[in-house]
Amino acid sequence: MPSLKDLRTRIASVKSTQKITKAMQMVAAAKLRRAQESAEEARPYAERIETVIARLRAALQGRAGAPRLITGSGKDNVHLLLVATAERGLCGGFNSGIAKLARDEALRLQADGKQVKILCVGIKGHDALKTMFSDQMVDLVRLSGDQAENYRIARELGTRLVEMFEAEEFDICTMFYSRFKSVISQTPVAQPLIPSTLTEADEDSAGAKSKGAQACYDYEPDESEILDDLLPRNIRVQIYRAILENGASEQGARMTAMDNATRNAGEMIDKLTLQYNRARQAMITKELIEIISGADAL
């Protein structure tokens, strides 16, 4: 049975923890709104560029001399996994969800005899994967809290990926991030980045839009120049979009996690207070009995 003093200190410490989690929840809620807005505003651009690429791919299919960024290098020996996570923890299963998806994929590829390379964006994914895949780790790119800065980081990373691809350092690149659905639901997803293949849902919408127009496209200035500009741009945009989606997902996950923590702390305080009051009453009763029996003895 803990003493009254022990109980009092425990209640005080749980209360201060609760204050912290409550504050973190409110900060996350405030940040979430901004992050969600920018993630949602970035979506149309990323989707449109995907549609255009899809149309171009349909037009270029099977043609000799098509850019390798679209058709791939023709091999699938070396896989690069781009794992985008957050810079901070304490956000529920957000980071571990992405890391787990990436880890499973890496193990599957390795079991198939492929070579795996991992590039981390955000330190948390790096922390989760570095013990298991220390040899495969290519680099870690840190993110910043500032959005304009992150855009620059995404651009640089995109350029770097294209350079690595041209230097044949990898054949296929897949990006892992968490897609923001709503405040309570974020799903880790794996998106193929190079070559730019479509997911099935995209395929439908792109297919519907592109019917009829795909065969006869004019290019200005000319086809190869447009593609040289467009394809690396697409990669940069997709990376930037992943960072934004991640940002919103992170805040959403943190808000939910901190909400739970605050509620748990509240329950714990209630339980401890009950225990404290019982102990106090038991002590009073005990003292009364002692006084009464003392008086009786006289």
Partner: protein, 132 residues
């Protein structure tokens, strides 16, 4: 034939415009071109300049764009701009920043071809600034 087409202007940070338009003049890299309903499908890169949008009611809007490309289909036009800002919000400080960026592009250009292109962009920006 319909006398309007669907026009969308998107930049990486936001969807700026999504509505029917009667005509849009796009500053293409090889010269301005006007897009009207039924235009042949074209993909063109965009140089820094003004998008002239004529709405179905005869109203006009001008938007500054830099970098990106235009995707023209018979019934739709999508402009994907690296940077876009309505003319009313455009001022000297924004433009000065853009010019600085363009200057950096010129300095960073890896090949002669890229440098020429970047220099062209820079010249266009300076022209716009002097017109403002």
């Amino acid at each position: 034939m319909a006398d309007t087409f669907h026009f969308e202007l998107v930049s990486p940070v936001k969807l700026l415009f999504s509505a029917e338009a009667a005509m849009v003049v796009v500053p293409g890299v090889e010269g301005d071109f006007a897009v009207m309903p039924g235009h042949a499908p074209v993909i063109s890169t965009v140089r820094p300049g003004m998008l002239d949008i004529s709405l179905p009611g005869g109203e006009k809007q001008r938007v500054f764009v830099r970098g990106g490309f235009a995707d023209v289909a018979p019934d739709a036009l999508t402009v994907l701009a690296e940077f876009a800002l309505p003319e009313s919000e455009l001022d000297k400080t924004v433009l000065a920043q853009q010019i600085k960026n363009a200057q950096e592009d010129v300095d960073d250009a890896a090949s002669d071809e890229a440098r020429n292109r970047a220099q062209e962009h820079l010249d266009h920006l300076i022209k716009i600034e002097s017109a403002l």
